[in-house]
């Protein structure tokens, strides 16, 4: 699981936001509930106190005992775990409820309040054992002018009970919700992103060889469909671009080759005549040589343009590069020995690669031909093939004069000549290394050069080794 994938990031974001919302909701609910329950408790205590007030307010001193009896009988605060006390403002207690049924507090412990006349007050009282009590006091004056205070109280036990239960519920359910939500979200985003994976997989398979293929674009009318459609349009534009390169290449072939054919054919016919003056004969021969050169340039440019348009796949097969290097070196030995150059070949027994052997051979011939041309007499050229890490390397190293550092970055460019006079003398067209590079790139490889002036040059070609010969040869088209 890639932590940077959209699926994971989406799930993380979504569960983060969800978690924050759930916690906020829980805290708000908890606080709201506590507040509400407290206010209910308060109302209940207040109404209890107020109910008792009329019992005493219209009575005389001597009726008190009767009311107390009634209070005990009717209200029985102990049974409801309530506290009730009736006092005179002088401090003497007329009535106090007993120990409540749940024994949550001791009435004797509850301190007296002394509110000013006609001013109700509520306060929280903390008792020993941590019990918190809501105490409400209401002072009033009886008909005969006595001042009494009625105090009613209740513990917060019920409120705390409910809130702590709610707290427990939240504490347990929140993580469960989160786990379910994260898992659900991950599964959902996986489901939603599966078409993207499919698109990715198919897009990987589209190369210059099968540009007519399209990505699946299910008619879902969603973002995925839009993406597929947009990508398909892009592939279509690419296909058109490739087609136009191919068409250009074919048209250029025809348009350039036809006049060359005519020039050559007509001049050859004339050249065969025996009545030509030496001057005309010389001119015709020279023209034929130039036509030959123009033909080579044209062919080379067309080859490069086709390679760059991704032509290489057609004539592919698996072959042994080491064998090819040995044979080619052998074939070039005579060219080297003309200049008394020592030509060595150092290869393993086998170096299988996948590609067009004629094209790869062309790379080696170009490199060797260059090396032979630029290496002075009695020089040395070494051809080496090595296999390492799924990569086959072909190296052509000489001990010639090396390449000027200023020229080094340009030597693979078309028509680039390090030394214009010399190259011309050798009859090259300035495209050999460009072709070599295009061939290497078309085979999924690369070509590099290292050189220092006076210390020779080393050209190395890196090509992927053939890994699955069977599946490759099955998919490759018939070689011509």
């Amino acid at each position: 699981m890639n932590p940077r994938s959209i699926r994971v990031r989406l799930s993380l974001w979504y569960s983060g936001v969800l978690g924050l919302l759930l916690v906020t909701f829980s805290v708000a609910t908890y606080l709201g509930l506590e507040r509400y329950l407290t206010s209910v408790l308060r109302q209940s205590v207040i109404s209890q106190a107020r109910e008792v007030v009329p019992l005493f307010s219209h009575l005389d001193n001597k009726d008190e005992q009767r009311e107390i009896v009634e209070l005990r009988a009717h209200y029985a605060p102990e049974a409801n775990n309530r506290f009730l006390r009736v006092r005179r403002d002088t401090g003497s207690v007329i009535y106090v409820s007993g120990v409540p049924k749940d024994q949550s507090f001791d009435p004797a412990e509850i301190p007296s309040t002394q509110p000013p006349l006609a001013q109700e007050s509520t306060q929280d009282v903390f008792l020993s054992g941590g019990t918190r009590l809501l105490l409400y006091a209401i002072p009033f004056e009886t008909r005969d002018g006595r001042r009494l205070i009625i105090e009613a109280g209740a513990t917060y036990a019920q409120v705390d009970n409910v809130t702590s239960n709610v707290w427990m519920i939240f504490a347990f359910s929140l993580p469960v919700f989160m786990v379910v939500a994260v898992a659900g979200g991950y599964a959902l985003s996986r489901r939603a992103l599966r078409p993207i994976d499919e698109i990715t997989r198919r897009a990987e398979q589209i190369t210059s060889q099968n540009l007519s293929e399209r990505l699946p674009a299910p008619k879902t009318n969603d973002e995925v469909e839009r993406l597929s459609v947009a990508l398909n349009r892009m592939i279509e534009r690419l296909e058109r671009a490739f087609e136009s390169i191919h068409r250009f290449s074919a048209d250029a072939s025809h348009e350039l080759r036809t006049p060359l054919t005519i020039l050559r054919g007509e001049l050859e016919l004339v050249a065969q005549r025996r009545d030509l003056s030496p001057a005309i004969s010389e001119t015709i021969s020279s023209a034929l040589e130039e036509i030959d050169r123009l033909t080579k340039i044209t062919e080379s440019l067309l080859v490069i343009s086709r390679l760059d348009a991704g032509e290489s796949g057609h004539e592919s097969q698996e072959f042994n590069l080491a064998e090819l290097a040995r044979v080619t070196t052998e074939q070039m030995t005579l060219l080297a020995s003309e200049k008394e150059i020592e030509l060595c070949c150092d290869t393993p027994v086998s170096a299988q690669i996948h590609g067009n052997p004629l094209r790869i051979k062309q790379v080696l011939v170009n490199l060797l031909d260059n090396a032979i041309k630029y290496t002075p007499k009695k020089g040395k050229i070494n051809v080496a093939v090595a296999v390492a890490n799924g990569c086959v390397t072909l190296e052509v190293a000489d001990d010639g004069p090396g390449i000027n550092p200023a020229a080094l970055p340009h030597i693979f460019e078309r028509f680039y000549r390090v030394d214009k006079a010399r190259t011309r003398k050798f009859g090259g067209v300035g495209l050999g290394l460009s072709i070599a590079k295009s061939i290497c790139v078309a085979h999924g490889g690369e070509i590099k050069v290292e050189s220092a002036e006076g210390q020779g040059s080393r050209f190395s070609v890196h090509l992927p080794a053939a890994v699955q010969p069977l599946s490759f040869s099955k998919t490759s088209r018939r070689a011509g």
Binding site: H254, T258, G265, E266, E268, Q362, L364, N366, A479
Partner: protein, 228 residues
């Protein structure tokens, strides 16, 4: 008997020099400019060979090829084309072409191929080839000149044999490379010149009469001067 060749080529100048060259080589040539006429002519007359250009107005070379093959399976057909991809070649060999020549071509090469297709034995089956005082025994792969034995390497032998099989005809460097080496060497190396130089050193240098001739801008040929 004169061999009759039908040339289907819309490019007037190409048609003219091919026709001229073939006539000069003693063939009878009918040249037509488009596919439908070509098909008609091929059906109306008995030709020994058809040379067909692929890019034709009205009807493509491929269609012409199919039409001709429908009624005539025998006549050899040589394709001339400016398109040289392997896919093109395979496609046209599949529908019945016998040979394929890419433009621009050396006329000598066209002649060699025409002769091969006409089975006139351009690649002589004779076991001994002779040019002047030079003799090549193809069975023992040995060369002799004026009775003196000449030692040749395998490539030198192949080169000399190719030249001698086509004695008197000019062979282009491209033809030699493709025949003796392979096309990877084309356009880059001067390998042909080097080998010809070596061959000359062995075959011609010790003798007064030079047999191997350079035709500038075209290629090489071997001939006994007096026979031309």
């Amino acid at each position: 008997m004169t061999m009759r060749i039908l040339l289907i080529e819309d490019e007037e100048k190409v048609s003219r020099f091919v026709e001229g060259g073939l006539v000069a080589a003693s063939y009878a040539v009918d040249a037509v400019q488009d596919g439908p006429t070509g098909v008609e002519m091929a059906e109306a007359y008995q030709y020994d060979l058809i040379i067909l250009d692929l890019m034709l107005p009205g009807m493509s070379g491929g269609q012409v090829l199919r039409s001709i093959r429908r009624s005539n399976h025998q006549v050899p057909i040589l394709i001339l084309t400016a398109r040289d991809t392997v896919a093109d070649k395979v496609e046209h060999f599949e529908i019945g072409a016998d040979d394929y020549l890419t433009k621009p071509f050396a006329f000598a090469e066209l002649l060699v191929r025409v002769k091969a297709l006409l089975r006139r034995g351009p690649i002589s089956q004779a076991s001994t080839l002779r040019v002047g005082s030079l003799e090549l025994d193809r069975l023992s792969q040995q060369a002799k000149r004026a009775g003196r034995r000449i030692d040749l390497t395998a490539k030198e032998y192949a080169l000399l044999e190719y030249l001698m099989c086509n004695a008197g005809r000019v062979l282009s460097r491209t033809m030699i490379i493709e025949h003796v080496w392979d096309q990877s060497f084309d356009g880059v190396t001067n390998i042909v010149d080097v080998f010809v130089r070596h061959l000359r050193h062995k075959v011609d240098d010790p003798f007064e009469q030079k047999l191997i001739r350079t035709v500038r801008g075209v290629g090489y040929s071997i001939s006994d001067e007096r026979s031309i």
